[in-house]
């Protein structure tokens, strides 16, 4: 089956397309629509020159240093009561963490829906924050360094996280209430740099 347009592949007839975004993290540099910055410490980022490598973030070398990709609080296009993210990513070694999803603002988890893979935890978690309180729901997937598909759905009553196409966690409290932007962040949990890779990010309003 072929479609005349990308638009017609993704939008039912007669519907006005809502915001949608995707990035394949390929080519020789990060797309200019991202802002890469340190949350703490001094890290770096570069395309990973390996098969299926995507883009790699490297943290600073002090414990808890972290680095992120966001839209720099300039384009918070995603609806707290109706949006989706799909992220293919991992962290590359022990004693590290990645978190990814939708956030506001860029440098503090005040309002979020995130998948959190933290070496300090036992399992991957779904974290929602409503501006004051975090609700972290553990999944059944043990934290690891495997590249996985993370699928988050946010609506007015709940947030859901699927990992590798299996529904793993549901949060019904402390859901975000404000406009959101994409984030992918990597954090070291030791006194050495740590890396994480991302090769796909897609988000859209539903």
């Amino acid at each position: 089956m072929s479609f005349q347009s990308v638009h017609d592949m993704l939008v039912p007839p007669g519907q006005v397309r809502k915001q949608k975004f995707w990035d394949f993290f390929d080519g020789d540099s990060l797309r200019s629509w991202w802002t890469e910055a340190d949350g703490a410490g001094t890290g770096s980022g570069a395309m990973a020159d390996e098969v299926d490598g995507g883009y790699q973030l490297t943290t600073g070398t002090s414990d808890n240093n972290w680095r992120r990709l966001t839209f720099d609080d300039l384009a918070r296009h995603y609806e707290p009561t109706g949006s989706v993210f799909i992220i293919i990513c991992n962290r590359d070694s022990t004693l590290s963490r990645f978190f990814a999803g939708l956030i506001n603002p860029k440098n503090a988890a005040n309002q979020t829906i995130l998948v959190d893979n933290d070496t300090d935890n036992t399992f991957y978690e779904l974290a929602t924050v409503d501006g004051s309180t975090t609700n972290a729901v553990a999944t059944s997937v043990t934290v690891d360094t495997t590249v996985r598909k993370h699928f988050g759905i946010l609506n007015a009553a709940s947030a859901k996280l699927s990992i590798d196409d299996t529904l793993e966690a549901i949060s019904t409290s402390n859901l975000p209430t404000v406009k959101l932007q994409p984030i992918f962040a990597v954090q070291t949990r030791t006194t050495a740099a740590r890396t994480g890779n991302i090769r796909r990010y897609e988000a859209y309003n539903t």
Binding site: V6, H7, V16, R17, K20, S32, F71, L74
Partner: protein, 202 residues
């Protein structure tokens, strides 16, 4: 199961033609766009920080001055066989204009062009060159999805799905580039928003 995007968009054995897609997301306008002051100076384009906001184009601040984003007259799109899709919103402001479509140079030039025209007043129009055909959809401040189809004998405008205007006059005669333009009618900037654009040859 289809595994490649190319296979979703092209029948077997068909060599894909030129295509561009922009989701107008992220922290800045894609570098492949060029901001042009068609008349006057000081037009601007910036991401709009709101849900479903896309990009906001602001006109200059002198009456009847205008700005557009375009491909710097790199004209990949056929004057006889192309389509253009855009999701756009006008800020209102009777007397001002917003235009989205394919043009040889600028929205205001009388050379080749096929575009959706939110004119100073009246229903949304399909413009070929300088010839307008009004559709049935009234202008408002809501988001609308438009598709424009160009062939050698006619141009068509679909608004939010249905066919809404047909224009057989002043058909384009030269290759085209995507444009999105905004003109003010007063001593203040007027805005237009765009959150999706796709153009392709057929």
């Amino acid at each position: 199961m289809v595994k490649a995007l190319i296979d979703y968009l092209n029948a077997p054995g068909v060599v894909p033609l030129q295509r561009v897609v922009d989701n107008f997301d992220g922290d800045a306008l894609r570098s492949w766009w060029n901001l042009t002051d068609v008349a006057g100076s000081g037009g601007s384009a910036a991401m709009l920080d709101e849900v479903d906001g896309g990009l906001r184009l602001s006109s200059p601040t002198v009456a009847f001055d205008s700005s557009q984003i375009d491909f710097n007259s790199i004209n990949h799109y056929s004057q006889t066989s192309a389509e253009f899709i855009a999701v756009i919103r006008k800020s209102g402001d009777t007397g001002s204009r917003m235009v989205a479509g394919l043009a040889q140079t600028t929205w205001a030039a009388s050379d080749s062009k096929v575009a959706v025209m939110y004119d100073t007043t009246g229903n949304i129009e399909l413009r070929n060159g300088s010839t307008d055909v009004a559709g049935s959809v009234a202008q408002d401040t809501n988001w609308h999805s438009h598709k424009v189809t160009v062939s050698s004998t006619t141009t068509l405008m679909f608004t939010d799905g249905p066919l809404d205007a047909v224009n057989t006059s002043s058909l384009p005669s030269a290759a085209l580039q995507p444009i999105f333009a905004r003109q003010t009618n007063a001593a203040s900037a007027k805005t237009g928003d765009i959150r999706y654009m796709e153009a392709y040859n057929t």
